[in-house]
Symmetry: C2
Subunit: 302 residues, 2 copies
């Protein structure tokens, strides 16, 4: 029997990864979502991204949203950046925790940020300096850690090279991301086993999408491999808006259900996550793929 | 690292568990579905059920459908029954493999077949005799093995009691079924570990629904626990027709994808399963919840 960790930290990513491909949602509706998310008890929230407003119009209000974050106590907010300039903007807006994404796959790196993986890696020192000089922390997220939409399977050495460079440059946290929702449990266990020996005591998180139905299975495999930080999105927000029903991020409430029934403690309340998913659904104006949102908790028989 | 089995047998259940709650599909459309299913390479197909036509009108054509089965070579067909009379009808219709369902939970047993679990268990010897006298095999499926819609969690001893009675009465195969789609990987591992010591070398299968998003994770946990027989349904057919998008059985193609990428061999071809899911979708006239049906295989980069 695999020994499971006693506790898993969930980072709520609906506000960024969930909303980024949606039609822009007014700030007032975003704040309702954020209030519902904070009410779940989650301790870390990815609030927005400081990236090109023309490329990601849904998050063009990043600085404005950031000014609202001081109103929430007891939650760590982070924001995604793709360049030193984005890091500066995030810090200037008051963020204390930034995520820098590096695509391990050449094709996705080029398409996503117009730079090679090596060029993106080369910016880690500058971004780390910008953050650390302000007392902020940096997480490097290795995107396309398993597969690339252009290149197919990502050679493992490309992932490990990014991981090593991040460790060499004093990043505070690492994550491996299944950007296009293709990985499966065995591939998760394999990559975690390869990454772990390289990173010392730097915390390692994982990020999964449910695009091919295996998101929760992959998340459980990650937890069985000792991962105790997982991203998830209320309602499973984050699917392609042009493919109705297509699954996005793994749904927070579905993950909470699975972990609870596995004896793993999380800070997120199941019913509150379902309520937040309903608020997210209203905000974006279409149905979300979460299973618990439809089916609810299992019958208690009481 | 968990040692995975080299091969898993998938039983295709779309024709029975998938169709049983749908509006009746004409026999001609069913035969198109069956042809597409057989074309996947699957070696075992649950073809229909010999139950009350008034309770399950969608399968009222069981005997008529059974006469068509002789046209398919190389596939083992089975049919579900809920009583000795059903077993006699199945055998008379030419089936060589029958499944007898016993609900481990009192509430579901009463609601489903109007008998207590003990009364249903008491029929195992007669059903086994009917089958064996005709050279047919019997599988006992323990329904509501984890949770009951009425009673909540099923006490494990109730499951084990049914398993023991089945073994004592020379059944040929056993399966544990997550009838309402509530179980999760850890609970699967726990129950398999409890059942295994009781059954000697009787093959044990498992049946999962994806109602709460954990179906594939549970299936993978079962495989990690040594289960090498899994039920699945093309398209994930088998959800409630009155809850659009609600997930039914785990989708064959999603399971094949996950197992293939875990290095586990199956007889079912992934693309052929996606094609069969499309045929099933046409037959029932509404969308199905399968992930692969929407997303397709992962990019090969070629």
């Amino acid at each position: 029997m695999t020994e499971l960790p006693a506790h898993v930290d969930i980072r709520e990513v609906a506000m960024r990864d969930g909303l980024q491909i949606e039609a822009p949602v007014p700030l007032s509706a975003k704040m309702k979502m954020l209030e519902a998310i904070v009410a779940t008890g989650v301790k870390e929230v990815e609030a927005t991204a400081f990236v090109s407003p023309s490329k990601v119009p849904a998050l063009a209000d990043a600085a404005e949203l950031a000014t609202e974050l001081a109103n929430f106590d007891g939650v760590e907010f982070c924001a995604l950046v793709a360049s030193p300039n984005g890091a500066k903007r995030a810090i200037a807006a008051g963020l204390h925790s930034i995520e820098y994404v590096v695509s391990a796959a050449a094709g996705h790196s080029r398409a996503n940020v117009g730079r090679s993986t090596a060029e993106a890696v080369a910016q880690i020192p500058e971004i780390t300096a910008i953050a650390h000089d302000s007392g902020a922390t940096v997480e490097v997220i290795v995107a396309t850690a398993w597969d690339c939409p252009f290149d197919g399977p990502t050679p493992q050495h490309r992932v490990l090279d990014v991981v090593k460079a991040a460790c060499d440059n004093d990043v505070d946290r690492l994550a491996i991301a299944d950007t296009i929702g293709t990985t499966t449990p065995r591939r998760v266990s394999d990559l975690v086993a390869a990454v772990r020996p390289l990173i010392g005591d730097i915390p390692l998180g994982a990020h999964f999408h449910n695009t091919r139905g295996a998101g929760l299975a992959s998340a459980y495999a990650a937890v069985c491999s000792g991962i105790t930080r997982l991203d998830a999105s209320v309602g499973g927000l984050g699917g392609c808006p042009f493919a109705p029903g297509a699954s996005g991020n793994i749904a927070t409430e579905d993950l909470v259900y699975l972990l609870r029934d596995s004896g793993v403690h999380v800070d997120v309340d199941l019913q509150a996550a379902i309520e937040a998913a309903k608020v997210a659904q209203t905000a974006v104006g279409h149905g979300l793929p979460s299973a618990l949102l439809r089916a609810g908790d299992r019958p208690s028989g009481e």
